[in-house]
């Protein structure tokens, strides 16, 4: 019954522009609001998010199939929170392998163990492992449910031309799309280039992505086997079965295990991919009698790089086209999904005329900042795993030697700092705190989850936040006063669509506010994680990042914060 997502093939169909252009070649055609290029995880997530915001999308892809090979396998809690909002998180978690614990070994001795989610009270685990083709398959099936997404397979972008005055409504992009039936012109107001690390659009525009390529080679061997390793991320430095190099072991669904062997720069990438070379390496780890099949083999090198700017006119780069990292830390696909989420609501607001075009500049600035953080973490991990100089190697080995006996050194052992969302604390969209707050939910932070009750059933706070601007009012035993109620009604009928969540305390009677979603903080976890007191009000962005917060609701302050978050003039 299960679908083999790697084998699926999607049919090319001629589109309406092709037949129209036969007759009126060169005639100006209306521009689609957004064209997304690339049906990988980032392009699909962007398309779904836009469609959920009511923006029709044309999604073009040069191929007609999903990911070949497992490729990205680690999807972070933040990605799952986003997939939940996109309507396919549960499928990912049901199929995926949930994990929170990582272990680091030196030779065959455990030196360090970390738990990425030590506290309870989160809907989603720190990570799931799930082959990229499942992630793409589930996203695609979600996209196919949406009438306002049109997917065009075997449609390769071979030309990009921008026209009109930048920043105005007449600015647009014309793509030349090559198909089995020849070329046609496709016009969009905005183009999202989610077309991967070798981004044809980036090349067509004469742009590049710059950075550092690391002189090391790694072998991925995904093997199918019955094994009883725990569901944890295991990383060895200098193990007896693969001396002087590192090895990573990770479990995937369908009894597939990811084994990642460091090979060194001198390894022959063609030879090392052959079963004659791979099987003995796997056998050295699993033992001489192990029964396994090779599922997917790949030899790779990697670079940490990014484009200088993610926005070029009305073309916005997202995911691997904009930035690249090493795989240690799972910061590639996860950061791309966060790019998608950051971009989708901004495009929707600009297209609806509720935000100025300058809001899209903050897509670039926020995600460039996040890319730098990911590259910094990824580079540090890589420098530890693949020391670049003899003295760097001496310190690396010294850390590992000390880590056996001295707890302090374990925090220096770096086998990958795993993906967490960047805190966009310097974003121009934030309204700085005017009251005093403690804790992690600073303006710019991605909201954390908390267990709540909704309609007397167990529920999760995050499920109620985002998609549009969300006001979250924490309310004490006394309910809310008339002044606060007046402010809420003013916000709910304002020019910017906003929804309201009231977090009521314990069993106290719920305040009666029409159009508000009431959740109950029965365990007090939500109030603790948001450092909330009765009357505390959070303004949350559509992408579930904190925009502003106050100890007491003031409608004018919220309206100003909204204007700031939409790059609209007229802040009082």
């Amino acid at each position: 019954m299960s679908i083999d997502y790697q084998r699926l093939s999607f049919e090319y169909r001629p589109c309406r522009e092709q037949s129209a252009q036969d007759m009126h070649s060169g005639a100006a055609q209306p521009a689609y609001p957004v064209i997304v290029v690339g049906a990988g995880p980032v392009g699909l997530a962007t398309a779904i998010d836009l469609a959920q915001q009511g923006v029709p999308v044309v999604l073009v892809d040069d191929d007609c199939s999903l990911s070949t090979g497992s490729r990205a396998i680690c999807f972070s809690k933040r990605s799952l929170d986003i997939f939940d909002r996109l309507g396919c998180g549960q499928r990912m978690v049901d199929k995926g392998i949930s994990w929170n614990v990582g272990k680091v070994f030196l030779k065959d001795e455990l030196v360090y163990s970390f738990n990425l989610q030590p506290e309870a009270g989160h809907h989603r685990p720190a990570f799931i492992n799930l082959q990229q083709y499942y992630v793409e398959g589930f996203l695609l099936e979600r996209a196919q449910q949406m009438p306002n997404i049109e997917i065009r397979w075997k449609s390769k972008v071979v030309g990009v031309e921008q026209s009109g005055t930048p920043g105005t409504c007449d600015a647009a992009v014309t793509l030349t799309v090559d198909t089995p039936d020849g070329q046609y012109a496709l016009r969009g107001r905005y183009v999202v280039a989610a077309d991967g690390s070798r981004s044809p659009i980036r090349n067509l525009m004469g742009l590049d992505s710059k950075g550092v390529t690391f002189k090391d080679r790694f072998l991925i061997a995904d093997v199918k086997m019955e094994a009883d390793f725990p569901t944890e991320r295991w990383f060895w430095f200098d193990p007896p079965f693969h001396p002087n190099q590192s090895v990573l072991l990770h479990r995937q669904p369908d009894n597939v295990w990811r084994i990642d062997f460091q090979l060194g720069w001198d390894a022959d990438p063609v030879l090392e991919k052959t079963p004659e070379r791979v099987i003995p390496r796997v056998r050295a780890l699993l033992g001489p009698d192990a029964k396994f099949e090779l599922e997917w083999v790949s030899v790779y090198t990697f670079s940490c790089l990014r484009m200088e700017r993610f926005r070029h006119g009305n073309v916005l780069f997202a995911g691997d086209s904009a930035h690249g990292v090493s795989p240690f830390g799972a910061r590639g696909a996860n950061s791309g999904v966060q790019d998608a989420e950051n971009l989708a609501w901004k495009l929707a607001m600009v297209l609806e005329g509720k935000a100025s075009d300058a809001l899209l500049d903050t897509y670039a600035s926020e995600r460039e900042f996040a890319a730098d953080e990911n590259i910094r973490n990824s580079t540090r991990s890589t420098d530890f795993i693949t020391p670049k100089s003899p003295v760097s190697r001496v310190f690396r080995d010294a850390v590992l030697k000390l880590a056996r006996h001295h707890p302090f050194a374990r925090q220096l052992a770096n086998s990958g700092r795993l993906s967490v969302p960047a805190v966009l604390s310097g974003s121009p969209l934030n309204t700085p705190d005017s009251n005093s707050f403690e804790g992690a939910m600073v303006p710019g932070a991605a909201c954390v989850d908390a267990p709540v009750q909704a309609a007397r059933e167990p529920a999760w706070l995050l499920a109620h936040l985002g998609q549009q601007f969300t006001g979250v009012l924490f309310c004490g035993e006394d309910g809310i006063d008339a002044q606060t109620e007046g402010a809420l009604n003013r916000l709910l009928t304002g020019a910017i669509p906003m929804k309201l969540v009231v977090v009521a305390c314990g069993e106290a009677p719920a305040p009666a506010i029409a159009d508000a979603k009431i959740v109950r903080d029965v365990e007090g976890v939500a109030s603790a994680r948001y450092d909330a007191q009765p009357g505390t009000f959070y303004l949350i962005r559509p992408d579930q990042h904190v925009c502003a917060r106050w100890r007491r609701l003031d409608a004018s302050a919220v309206e100003n914060a909204l204007k700031r978050a939409l790059c609209v003039e007229g802040t009082a």
Binding site: V394, D397, A398, L402, H406, L412
Partner: protein, 78 residues
């Protein structure tokens, strides 16, 4: 916490002797490893990031940059 570069060692000569003694009978690779472990142990004990950066800066300045060394004149004290 500023890096203290004023005399602070309880027993300076004994410390120095112990430091050199640490390397006795070690080949170069082991000596380097011992030095690196010692630096890491001491760094953790200090903990304060600004203090560590100050020490790193002074140590780096203490090693003349090969690019600028040739042009500098180091007059011997008369």
């Amino acid at each position: 916490m500023a890096l203290n570069t004023q005399p602070n060692l309880a027993r300076p000569d004994d410390f120095y002797e112990a430091l050199i003694d640490m390397h006795r009978d070690l080949d170069d690779a082991r000596s380097q490893s011992a030095n690196a472990q010692l630096i890491l142990l001491l760094a953790n004990h200090i903990g304060d990031h600004a203090t560590l950066l100050e020490a790193i800066r002074l140590a780096r300045e203490g090693v003349a940059d090969p690019a600028t060394q040739g042009g500098e004149i180091h007059p011997l004290a008369a």
